[in-house]
């Protein structure tokens, strides 16, 4: 009889261990209502972005000068803009730009920032000093303006390179603008992330379990990867989630400065920038011209933020009630 109970017990144990920690994290997230809404919003946007061509009733640059700045109607659910283009379609295509830019910029930030920050935090010494000095140099440039400088400089270089290598079509298509914006934003953003990671790593690496892992003889990279990073992960994720929202907002400011995505490519930032000045002087129109893209952008940013918070709580089991 002890045998069966033991095996039952063991099976129960096994099964609970096999119920991987990831699942538990997912469970915790699902419990958080805000995070759910956030995930929903993000999925919705990604879905719209992927199927923009199918969902949009009009092309994003189908102009109709006779129907400019119309209020919402049955033909145009969200009204038209200053050139008579359907706002709903432009918003839908704008989702594509937003997703694309945010994803790629975050990736660049991650790829540059996390490893460099981890290395700096872990090894300390001159490695740390070097990387941190580079980050300081990066910080020396005023944020948005640095992006501007890079964009102004990088764009003709890329244009020239593209033309010289027979990629002139690519140069014209607007992807070039994406590349410029992504490079510029990505290059500027990784510094903060690296610094943060470095701090977290430095704080974590002296914790007992890490010292214990070393004592037991676990190789360095494994220690970093398996023990240090996951514990440093939570604040990084909080930072990233806020970062994504900021990237989306920055794209808008870049358009306002004139170095964002080119017209007629729609982006929410573009659309807001076009009408930012006119906003309150033409009050009714501005609701769908400025506020709808603004609100959608805001909800994305909020969605990322809530998701980040939820992930933070989910990944730190100690702090859940």
């Amino acid at each position: 009889m002890t045998q069966t109970t033991l095996s039952e017990f063991q099976r129960a144990e096994d099964s609970s261990r096999m119920r991987s920690p990831w699942l538990q994290i997912v469970r915790r997230i699902v419990k958080n209502k805000f995070a759910l809404v956030g995930i929903l919003v993000i999925f919705l946007i990604v879905f719209v972005a992927l199927f923009a061509n199918v969902l949009a009733p009009y092309g994003y640059d189908a102009q109709n000068l006779d129907a400019k700045e119309q209020p919402p109607s049955s033909a145009h659910w969200l009204g038209t803009d200053a050139l008579g283009r359907d706002m709903l379609s432009r918003l839908i295509f704008g989702a594509r730009s937003a997703v694309f830019v945010v994803l790629l910029v975050t990736t660049v930030n991650l790829v540059l920032g996390v490893p460099l920050g981890a290395i700096a935090g872990y090894y300390g010494g001159w490695v740390d000093a070097l990387i941190m000095r580079i980050v300081e140099i990066l910080f020396a440039f005023p944020g948005l303006l640095f992006v501007f400088m890079i964009a102004a400089t990088v764009k003709p270089v890329i244009l020239g390179w593209a033309r010289a290598n027979g990629l002139a079509d690519l140069a014209r298509s607007g992807y070039l603008d994406y590349a410029v914006v992504i490079i510029a934003l990505g290059f500027v953003g990784w510094g903060g992330l690296a610094r943060f990671v470095r701090d977290q790593v430095m704080a974590v690496k002296v914790r007992d379990f890490v010292l214990g892992a070393f004592a037991v003889g676990v190789p360095t990279w494994k220690v970093i990867y398996r023990h240090i990073l996951p514990n440093a992960l939570a604040p990084i994720i909080v930072l990233l989630s806020a970062g994504m929202g900021f990237i989306a907002l920055s794209e808008g400011y870049l358009s306002y400065l004139g170095i964002g995505l080119q017209p007629p490519n729609p982006s929410w930032g573009n659309m807001m920038a076009e009408n930012a000045g006119r906003y309150w002087r033409t009050f009714p129109q501005s609701i769908w011209l400025v506020w709808v893209p603004a609100l959608i952008l805001t909800s994305i940013v909020l969605a990322f933020a809530f998701l980040g918070d939820a992930l933070n709580e989910a990944l730190n089991p100690e702090i859940s009630d």
């Binding site: 805000f34 300390g124 000093a129 941190m132 000095r133 300081e136 140099i137 910080f139 020396a140 440039f141 005023p142 948005l144 303006l145 501007f148 400088m149 890079i150 102004a152 400089t153 003709p156 270089v157 903060g192 610094r195 943060f196 701090d199 430095m202 704080a203 002296v206 939570a234 604040p235 909080v238 806020a242 929202g245 907002l249 808008g252 400011y253 306002y256 930032g269 807001m272 920038a273 930012a276 000045g277 906003y279 309150w280 400025v290 506020w291 603004a294 952008l297 805001t298 909800s299 940013v301 909020l302 933020a305 809530f306 918070d309 933070n312 709580e313 730190n316 100690e318 702090i319 009630d321």
Partner: protein
């Protein structure tokens, strides 16, 4: 300790070197130059060439490779290649450095002709600094307590409300927020035929003190007091302090700038407090029966404040950066507006000077941060 400070400070010239080199590089490769912007479309290439030559823009940027030829000639004549060395360094970059070491950071070419860059920045920097500083103070003094409160009252309605509000405040693009706030507050409204003046006046006209005589404009009531202390207002130097009676004009910009700080402080404080409260030692303290207040203050707070210190440090370094959008929207003569205008006009001297100042600010701030950190986190002491 001193050794660390000295070592870090020795990095400063290195950082400044790289920063200036990168800026010069970017300026070199960005198409368009200030002479062309100055002359506009109505210029002839002759004029452009002439002015570029007078300004020295036709000199090489960093080094002059032609100097090698001169050196060869001089050596073959048995002379020391002194002229060649001089020519080698007679480039835009080194001339700039030489001048800068004398305090001459160049002159504006396009937007404020012949005004020394140093003076242009000195006029605007105090305004931006004051603006940012006030916003930061508001951010910290509102954000930290809110963060603590929401951290303690997790998942209550209060928590959700505060978090949502702070998040929303930074999620709305300024391009939408600025117009609506100015629409509501800065315009004379027409309410049922009655003209109601703007709630907050627009920024326009005198904003800050220029010199002692304007002190009376701004702080007139204080003048008698100062005279009583033996200080003549005329002798007060150029201070660029924002006049107190102009502060109502700045309420909106400061508020908007502080939103970011409030949000970050609240979120970070909350997050670190929650994390810290989940730690073993807190549980131990509670298990031991300590009063909650004691647990909080003695155990939780110090550790929760660590990431805040980092953020504060970075924010202090960032005080010298002006927000271009806010400043240009409200017409505030600050550094941010100057920076973007300078970029559009390819005013290299202004850009380099600004960038150098920001670099210094960050290096100093980060250094201070790293010095203070061992005090706050004893675990790091053994690492340093």
């Amino acid at each position: 300790m001193v050794a660390i400070v000295v070592r870090r400070l020795l990095w400063l010239p290195v950082v400044l070197f790289f920063v200036s080199v990168i800026t010069f590089l970017l300026g070199f490769y960005a198409p368009g130059d200030p002479v062309q912007v100055l002359l506009g479309v109505h210029a002839t290439p002759d004029t452009i060439e002439r002015l570029r030559h007078e300004y020295g823009f036709d000199k090489p940027i960093f080094i002059d490779p032609d100097a090698f030829g001169l050196a060869a000639r001089e050596l073959s004549q048995g002379k020391l290649p002194l002229n060649a060395i001089q020519q080698f360094f007679d480039t835009q970059y080194f001339r700039y450095i030489a001048n800068a070491l004398h305090g001459n950071f160049g002159y504006s070419l396009v937007k404020y002709r012949d005004q020394p860059v140093g003076e242009l920045i000195a006029e605007r920097l105090p305004i931006t600094l004051q603006l940012n500083f006030i916003a930061l103070v508001i951010g910290v003094s509102l954000g930290l307590p809110l963060g603590i409160l929401t951290g303690l009252k997790r998942n209550t309605r209060f928590d959700f409300t505060v978090r949502t509000f702070t998040l929303v405040s930074i999620s709305i693009s300024l391009l939408a927020l600025l117009p609506i706030l100015t629409f509501i507050f800065s315009r004379r409204q027409d309410i049922f035929g009655i003209q109601a003046g703007p709630i907050l006046p627009m920024v326009g006209g005198r904003l800050s003190t220029i010199s002692g005589t304007d002190f009376n404009d701004c702080f007139g009531g204080l003048a008698p007091t100062l005279i009583g202390w033996g200080v003549q207002p005329e002798n007060i130097p150029d201070t660029r302090i924002i006049c107190l009676n102009q502060l109502p004009k700045l309420v909106l910009p400061i508020l908007i700038e502080s939103l970011g700080y409030i949000a970050i402080m609240t979120r970070q404080m909350r997050a670190s407090l929650i994390e810290v409260l989940g730690q073993d030692y807190v549980r131990t303290a509670r298990a031991k029966g300590l009063r909650e207040r004691s647990v909080l203050v003695r155990h939780a707070m110090r550790n929760a404040l660590l990431p805040i210190a980092t953020i504060l440090g970075l924010s202090l370094g960032g005080l010298v950066e002006g927000s271009f959008l806010v400043e240009s929207w409200f017409g505030i003569p600050g550094v941010g507006a100057l920076a973007v205008d300078a970029l559009y006009a390819r005013e290299y001297y202004i850009i380099v000077a600004l960038v150098l100042i920001i670099a210094v600010a960050y290096v100093v701030a980060l250094l201070a941060l790293d010095l203070i950190r061992p005090f706050l986190d004893p675990r790091l002491r053994q690492v340093e």
